[in-house]
Symmetry: C2
Subunit: 440 residues, 2 copies
């Protein structure tokens, strides 16, 4: 007698049932195909890296969450995002890549966060980045919203907003207010306005001793309202004499112009001056994306422009712009809100059920269907018809064909649609044709 | 000035260039689509598991290779195959699965092997398994070779052999020779005959004190030659009075019968009585697959029948049969032998090169191509035409369309085939049609 270990999965690690997994794979594939539609190249990097390499830049919160360990003499860490491995890859292979280097990567990353419902320690990120060699035109910053738009349309969403801002505008504003030293802190505070509200933001700004007048300017700045063009106009009318501010506004205006050219409807993007995204990474355009009826999910696709991808590995100046979809969390939330439906339970479109001692003829029929591109399962176990039909019912395979001696003799089978219950007769050699016409 | 860390990848971890990655993804996708063609369900399990769960069975060599570490109070291990996580999954979700449970899983696994050329510490396994609840018909053992056959045909191979054997035949033979206690050791030795030759096998058998007469029987047994049917006939004629032997021969005969029904040509399978596969795991049918001209690669797809998948987690009796392709090593070897060719360098089929200040019209053309299903990249950076064409050349994007003021004015563009150098004129609104007809 073997001692049994309780089969369990680590908390914070998603493990799906087959129907959910089918849906997850469909969503992942739609994201991947969209990334490919824009010509991005695939990349796969190891999940394990030398800690020295992976953590060349990291620090603070990030470093605490890392899965880090020694194997032999080697200090190893698990990747916590796909950007640092990209930086390593581009620096390492600089001479062999063509720039702009446009890559997508879909893979698991690891963060040992506090366990909590809806928080995952292992999760998929779906990233695209465009890396320039020395320079990268601002028009690239407008292409990424076009990718975001196409992805979420493909996933069946309509009511979402891609929020765009430019960090230079914010930074320029703070410089003009002589609050540059406080800017990281101020950004952190105004980034929270969505969560904590205006009054709390003012209080926090007072706490760090921002001048009363500056607080007024900051608040009236982040409260600029109107259409996209009105916002851009109002920003211009602020007449802030600061190079960064002007450059940021110029970039944002360009991005908005091309976002329109890329065909994104007005209702699916807007300028949102409160978005700052992180603290010291992004330097220009920043994005966040929200499902308008479910803002509580938070941003479902974020990213932005950075000045230098790989400064910790190389002297080369590699500006880039990128976005990331946190797929595991997104899937969890959409599922929880019943916005997606894991109703497909089978990969097979046809189930063949032999009611014969000898499976040879049914197997030949299955062979033929597979050759004609139809995903086909054949029930190869010796059970009563009732048990076999129960299996078909439970798996919800769309079409079932029972094959007994009568069918072999007559050469005619019945194709049963398991949803409607309807049956359609078919000559054995025409099953593939008939099934294709029945629309799976 | 930031201190630079040398960007490097851990030894034993594969990281490919974009053209190789495109090929790798194509192969992976072909394997996956074939698995789906047979109706297998997708599964994804965490890469990290509780050590107590993952190592419930492991021991010896395996355990030494595990990446194992503590995070907080939790003793964690990285998965070293996809079978143990499957066992955990099936035991955990037994009540919610339909049996036979047919799943595929394609994912990375980790083994801290000695670093060596062509050996990987992180590698993809592509597995399928069929798990029965209490019983599983022998016909399933014949379906898996059909999957193997379809996969390697899809990958463009023709000259490969799926070798089939049955462990019960071997075990029964040893029982009849009263060498049951030595059987694990004898299996280990005869499993090496391919590598070390007959004489060395005899010597090793003598060393463990197998009787002279028994060695003769063992050798003449593993040297049984002839066609598949002749081999089965000769096994029968050995008249070995042992239940296991008889059952194994019966099973093997059934498997061969149905392997033929599944349409596998005679040249692509054979009975190979020397195959034992591992020591204590497989209990019936076993498989190995070889590229006939490149036997030195070793088996490219292996597996077999096991009596009980999850005995370390549950009392349920869950017999199964499965196969696995070690994709990372296979890719490495095929690439090294030039049996595959990473000649596709781009995901985009069309590159649009604007020669205008304003990118609006070229972007609209790109939008339209993408909508019509054509992977399209647009060069968004401000470079001289020469630099833009160099990029197109280097990436080998099949079709290039330069768009300047003349093209906008006339509404006519030239679609350049970058391989032949030929150009074809097209009305701007017909580009998608024309490109589709040019065959990408």
């Amino acid at each position: 007698m073997i001692n049994k270990t309780e089969p369990r999965t680590l908390p914070g690690f998603m493990e799906l049932m087959p129907n959910e997994q089918i849906l997850f794979e469909q969503i992942k594939e739609k994201i991947e195909k969209t990334y490919q539609k824009f010509g991005f190249l695939p990349l796969d990097t190891p999940i394990l890296e030398l800690s020295e390499v992976l953590l060349a830049k990291a620090g603070g919160e990030t470093e605490k969450q890392i899965y880090r360990f020694e194997k032999g003499d080697t200090d190893i860490s698990m990747r916590f995002d796909l950007t640092v491995p990209l930086a390593k890859y581009v620096a390492k292979n600089y001479g062999n890549l063509s720039f702009p280097f446009r890559r997508y990567q879909i893979g698991k990353v690891y963060r040992g966060e506090r366990a909590q419902k809806g928080r995952f320690r292992e999760f998929y990120q779906c990233d695209i980045d465009i890396i320039g060699d020395g320079e990268l035109s601002i028009v690239n910053d407008a292409e990424l919203p076009s990718v975001i738009y196409t992805v979420f349309k493909e996933l069946g969403f309509d009511d979402f907003t891609i929020c765009v801002n430019n960090r230079k505008i914010l930074n320029g504003l703070f410089e003009s207010l002589k609050e540059k030293e406080n800017s990281v802190e101020i950004l952190r505070i105004i980034d929270k306005i969505e969560k904590i509200g205006k009054e709390a933001v003012i209080q926090e700004l007072e706490k760090i001793k921002v001048a009363e007048k500056s607080i007024q300017t900051i608040i009236s700045f982040i409260e600029i309202e109107g259409t996209t063009d009105e916002k851009l106009q109002k920003l211009k009318e602020l007449n802030i004499e600061n190079e960064n501010f002007k450059l940021g506004l110029e970039e944002l205006t360009q991005v908005i112009k091309y976002v329109r050219t890329f065909g994104i409807p007005e209702k699916n993007f807007k300028v949102d001056l409160t978005i700052a995204r992180g603290l010291d990474y992004y330097t220009g355009t920043v994005y966040e994306t929200f499902l308008n009826e479910y803002r509580e999910i938070g941003s479902i696709c974020s990213g932005g422009r950075y000045e230098n991808l790989a400064e910790f590995y190389t002297d080369k100046n590699l500006p880039g712009v990128g976005i990331s979809i946190g797929l595991t969390r997104l899937f969890y939330k959409l599922n929880e809100l019943n916005l997606i439906n894991a109703n497909k339970k089978s990969i097979a479109d046809v189930l063949i059920i032999p009611m014969l001692e000898d499976f040879s003829e049914p197997i030949k029929i299955a062979n033929n269907l597979r050759k004609q591109g139809i995903n086909t399962e054949i029930f190869l176990n010796d059970k009563k018809l009732k048990a076999k039909m129960k299996y078909a019912d439970k798996l919800e395979i769309p079409f079932v064909i029972v094959i007994g001696e009568d069918e072999i003799k007559s050469g005619i089978v019945k194709i049963k649609n398991m949803i409607t219950g309807n049956e359609k007769e078919s000559d054995i050699k025409d099953i593939a044709e008939v099934v294709k016409n029945l629309q799976i």
